[in-house]
C-alpha cells in the first residue's frame, strides 16, 4: 500500500502540476515524460463481472502509468513505463514495469528492441490498458480478457520490427518477439483458472511457469487509404502447478498441468474521416496434459467495432463481441447442466454502446452499457448461480493523461 501511495503522490505531483511537462523534453535533458490515470466504476445486473462486487457497484477499477523515454542517439531510444491497476479483488494496484527497452532503429525496414516488450497479439493488445486511446471502456472480452491479461501482455526478450513499402500495393508493418513470459498469479490468472476448475478437486497451487514464447504480427497497409489488414500469433508452453484435494489430507497431493498453447488471429481496421471500424477473429488452441492424458480445446473469439467522432469533444462507439469456450460446441450441447450452470456457459455475446467526452486535451470521461447473452466468461468464484442467460452491466471512467 505504501508503494502505491508513493507512486500516486509522485504521479499527481508530476501529472497534475503541469500538462506542459509532457512535451518539455528539452528541459529535462531530453527525457520525455508522459502519464495517465484512469478511475472507473463498474455496475452489473445479475452477475458480478470483472470486479467481484460489481453487482453493488465497484470503484475497484483503475489503471495508471507513467513513462520516461529518451532519444540517446540518432537511432537509439530507451524508455520505461511503470504501471499499476486494480480490478476487483485482483491486481490490487501492485506496481509493475509495463515495458522497458532499448530500441535501435537501424533502417526504416529493420529495428531491434531488447528488454520487456509488449506483445502484438491483436490490434489493441499493446494499448489495452490505456483508456484514452479508444472509445470503449471495457475492451471486447472475447479477445482481451481482463483477468488473463498477464498471459499475453509482455515478454522479456528481443524483437525485430520494421516498415516496408511495397510500391502500389501499399506497405507492411511487422514485429516479431521471442522471450520469456512472467505471469503474476495475483493479476487475475489464478482467479480465472480456479474459476474454471470450480467443481473439480483441483485448484492452482503456485505460479505458472511459462517457457520461451514467440509472438508476432504483420500488418498490410493496403492501397485503400485507411484500410489495414493484419495477422498475429502467440505460441508458448507453460506448466501450471495444481493441488488435488481428495478431501483427506493424507491422500491429497500436488500435481501439474502442462499446457501447449497457440493463439492466432486476423484483424481488419478501416478509418474513413471520423469513422473508425475494426474487427478481429482469433482461435486459442490449447493442448492440456494432466495425469498423462492430453486434451485439446479450441476457443473461438471475435468482435466487430465501430466508432464515430462527431466533433472535438464527443465520440460514440459500439461493438459486438462473441466468445465460444469451445468452437466445436458453440451451442453448449456438451455442457453438463446443473441447477446453477446451463448450456449458455458455452458462449458469451456482448453488445456494447459507449460515449466518450473529451473535456479537454487532458481529461476524458466515458460511459457505456452492455447487454450480454451467455455466461462463458462469468466466473464461478464470483457467482454461485450462473443460470440466467441474459444480463447487463455498465461502466463509467474518468481519465487524465499528459
Amino acid at each position: 500500500m505504501r508503494k502505491i501511495l508513493i507512486f500516486i503522490a509522485a504521479f499527481m505531483t508530476i501529472g497534475f502540476g503541469s500538462n506542459a511537462l509532457a512535451v518539455e523534453a528539452d528541459v529535462l535533458g531530453g527525457v520525455s515524460i508522459h502519464g495517465f490515470i484512469s478511475q472507473g466504476f463498474l455496475m452489473s445486473h445479475e452477475y458480478n463481472y470483472l470486479s467481484h462486487n460489481s453487482r453493488t457497484g465497484s470503484f475497484e477499477y483503475n489503471e495508471m502509468g507513467i513513462n520516461f523515454s529518451k532519444q540517446v542517439a540518432d537511432k537509439l531510444r530507451i524508455g520505461v513505463q511503470i504501471f499499476s491497476r486494480d480490478l476487483g479483488n485482483v491486481a490490487n494496484n501492485k506496481v509493475t514495469i509495463d515495458w522497458a527497452y532499448a530500441d535501435y532503429k537501424w533502417q526504416d525496414w529493420l529495428g531491434i528492441r531488447a528488454g520487456k516488450l509488449k506483445m502484438p497479439v491483436g490490434i489493441f493488445n499493446e494499448t489495452r490498458d490505456i483508456d484514452m486511446l479508444r472509445t470503449c471502456i471495457v475492451m471486447p472480452q472475447s479477445l482481451y480478457p481482463e483477468l488473463m491479461r498477464d498471459v499475453s501482455i509482455a515478454l522479456n526478450g528481443v524483437g525485430l520490427y520494421g516498415y516496408v513499402p511495397i510500391g502500389p500495393a501499399g506497405s507492411l508493418d511487422y514485429v516479431g518477439i521471442v522471450g520469456s513470459m512472467g505471469i503474476d498469479n495475483e493479476s487475475g490468472v489464478e482467479k480465472y483458472m480456479n474459476s474454471t476448475l470450480t467443481g473439480t478437486p483441483l485448484a492452482m497451487n503456485g505460479d505458472i511457469d511459462a517457457d520461451t514464447a514467440i509472438t508476432g504480427r504483420i500488418k498490410w497497409n493496403t492501397p485503400l487509404s485507411g484500410l489495414g489488414l493484419s495477422a498475429n500469433m502467440l505460441k508458448f508452453k507453460a506448466v501450471m502447478p495444481l493441488f488435488y484435494d481428495t478431501g483427506n489430507p493424507l491422500t491429497s497431493f500436488s500435481t501439474a498441468m502442462e499446457m501447449d498453447q497457440m493463439i492466432y488471429g486476423i484483424g481488419v481496421e478501416y478509418i474513413w474521416e471520423n469513422l473508425s471500424l475494426a474487427g478481429e477473429y482469433r482461435i486459442s488452441d490449447v493442448d492440456s496434459t494432466l495425469f498423462g492424458t492430453t486434451t485439446n480445446k479450441k476457443a473461438e473469439n471475435y468482435y466487430v467495432m465501430a466508432s464515430y467522432r462527431f466533433n472535438d469533444w464527443f465520440e460514440l462507439g459500439s461493438y459486438y463481441s462473441i466468445s465460444y469456450a469451445d468452437k466445436d460446441d458453440r451451442y453448449g450441447d456438451n455442457v453438463v447442466e446443473t441447477a446453477t450452470r446451463k448450456d449458455h456457459s458455452a458462449w458469451q455475446k456482448d453488445l456494447a454502446l459507449s460515449a466518450r467526452f473529451d473535456i479537454n486535451s487532458n481529461w476524458i470521461f466515458k460511459v457505456e452499457g452492455h447487454k450480454v447473452n451467455g455466461t462463458s466468461n462469468v466466473l464461478a468464484v464470483d457467482n454461485t448461480d450462473r443460470s440466467e442467460k441474459d444480463w447487463y452491466y455498465g461502466a463509467a471512467k474518468l481519465t487524465f493523461s499528459f
Binding site: 513513462n67 523515454s69 486511446l133 478509418i271
Partner: protein, 147 residues
C-alpha cells in the same frame, strides 16, 4: 429493472447528444505549404513519403541525414495538413502518437503554436521538415513540392 431503465435513459441521452454534436463541427479548407531546412536533399517528395515521415515510419532522408519532422499544435493549417496528407483528424493524429508514446515505440513530434516559430525551427535544424500556411514568409527555408 432499475438498471434497464437507467440504460434506456443513457441511450436516449446519447441520441440527443448525437443530434446536438452533429450540428457543431465545421472545417474550412485552406492551402498548406510544406517547408524544409535548406540542407534537406529533396525539393519534391511523394504524398506517401510525406505520410510516412509524419507517422514516424521513415526516419532518414535518402542521403542518410535524420529526418526531424515537426508540427503545428492546432489551427486550420494544421487540420488541413492532417486531412490532406495524412487522411487523419487532429484527434486521430494525436491518438496515433499517444499510442506510440505509451507503448514506447516513438516520441511525439515537436509542436509549435505559430508559423513563425515553425519556420525559425526548420530554418535552424538539419533535416527538419514541417508545414505552414500558404501566406507565411518562407524565405529562410526550402519549399517542398508534394507529387
Amino acid at each position: 429493472m432499475k438498471l434497464k431503465r437507467l440504460m434506456r435513459i443513457i441511450i436516449i441521452g446519447l441520441g440527443l447528444l448525437v443530434t446536438i454534436a452533429g450540428t457543431v463541427s465545421a472545417v474550412t479548407a485552406g492551402d498548406v505549404k510544406i517547408i524544409a531546412n535548406k540542407n534537406v536533399p529533396a525539393s519534391s517528395i511523394s504524398s506517401d513519403m510525406l505520410k510516412e515521415i509524419f507517422l514516424g515510419k521513415k526516419n532518414t532522408w535518402d542521403n542518410g541525414m535524420s529526418i526531424n519532422y515537426v508540427t503545428l499544435d492546432s489551427g486550420e493549417t494544421h487540420n488541413d495538413f492532417l486531412k490532406t496528407y495524412l487522411q487523419k483528424s487532429d484527434a486521430q493524429f494525436n491518438n496515433y502518437w499517444k499510442k506510440q508514446v505509451f507503448t514506447g515505440q516513438g516520441q511525439m513530434p515537436k509542436a509549435f503554436n505559430s508559423d513563425k516559430a515553425m519556420i525559425d525551427f526548420v530554418a535552424g535544424t538539419n533535416g527538419a521538415i514541417g508545414y505552414v500556411s500558404s501566406t507565411a514568409d518562407t524565405g529562410s527555408v526550402k519549399t517542398i513540392t508534394v507529387k
